[in-house]
């Protein structure tokens, strides 16, 4: 079906995990006490504090959207990636028993999902750039960096198209790299799980495969958290760059 295909399984799991995230955090917020915190409140507070520290050290302007969005991106992408640790055929086998013949459980291995997230962030970058600097300021930034163009010397106007090409490449590279980074990491991870499971059959090799799977799963826990964190941090960095009204010349 190509470009216009809608992957219902990935969307279902993404929405489901988003709802799980909202339910958990809302429960923790409603039952929050000022006394000694329980387990859930402790964990949620740790995550929120961590994201708050990271965001406030990167984003120096005022915008009440950024920190909650960083929290949402971090926890939601982490939950999406976490589905990769469920053994790869359990849920699809259960789904086949219920009549669904194809189910992809890890939404971040679907490039549609990761690029969708990345291009939403891209839309926000453009929106905040234009909101903070105006359309003129945004275009000026695209055409006057990195080679200076001054109105006084028409010779520098030759730099306008060169600047535009360079800055457009930088601008487009942001969402593409953001989405593809998450997709590449998760897809390679899941593929290695599947390959280890397929390549070792029989008892002796099966035990080797079990050890390998365990080792890769431990490494994958690091990769999951790291990739979710990188996505969130880069989002905040790009939005901070969008808010930067630089007036050095």
């Amino acid at each position: 079906m190509g470009f216009w295909a809608i992957n219902v399984d990935s969307i279902f799991w993404s929405v489901f995990l988003g709802v799980v995230f909202c339910v958990i955090f809302r429960t923790a917020a409603k039952k929050a006490t000022a006394g000694v915190p329980g387990g859930l409140q402790n964990a949620v507070e740790m995550i929120v504090d961590f994201i708050d520290d990271t965001t406030s050290s990167i984003f120096q302007h005022t915008n009440s959207l950024i920190a909650p969005m960083a929290l949402t991106i971090f926890v939601w992408v982490f939950l999406l990636n976490l589905m990769d640790l469920v053994p790869v055929d359990w849920i699809p086998e259960a789904a086949m028993a219920m009549g669904i013949h194809y189910m992809k459980v890890v939404p971040s291995t679907d490039p549609n999902i990761t690029l969708g997230l990345a291009f939403s962030v891209f839309g926000l970058i453009i929106f905040f750039s234009i909101k903070e600097k105006g359309v003129g300021g945004f275009v000026k930034e695209l055409t006057c960096h990195p080679f200076e163009v001054s109105l006084r010397s028409p010779l520098t106007w030759l730099f306008l198209p060169i600047n535009l090409v360079l800055e457009t490449v930088t601008l487009i590279a942001k969402p593409v790299s953001l989405g593809l980074r998450l997709f590449g990491n998760l897809y390679a991870g899941e593929m290695i799980f599947i390959l280890i499971a397929l390549m070792y059959t029989g008892l002796a090799l099966g035990l080797t495969a079990a050890v390998l799977q365990w080792a890769w799963a431990v490494f994958h826990v690091l990769v999951i958290t790291l990739q979710a964190f990188i996505f969130a941090v880069l989002t905040v960095v790009y939005l901070a760059q969008a808010h930067d009204v630089s007036d050095e010349h």
Binding site: R181, G184, Y187, A188
Partner: protein
Amino acid sequence: MRWALGGKFMEGVARQPELLPVLRTQMFIILGLVDAVPIIGVGVGLMVIFAPPI
């Protein structure tokens, strides 16, 4: 690329041990960025071998 990053990180920590958590966070950020290029390559390669989009 990753060995150079790790080496610089340990050098920095040896100079100023109190900056360990800060430097560690920054190292992970840069590590993730640098690691993206080869991992995207591996991902696309595996995709082309096993599930090629025709």
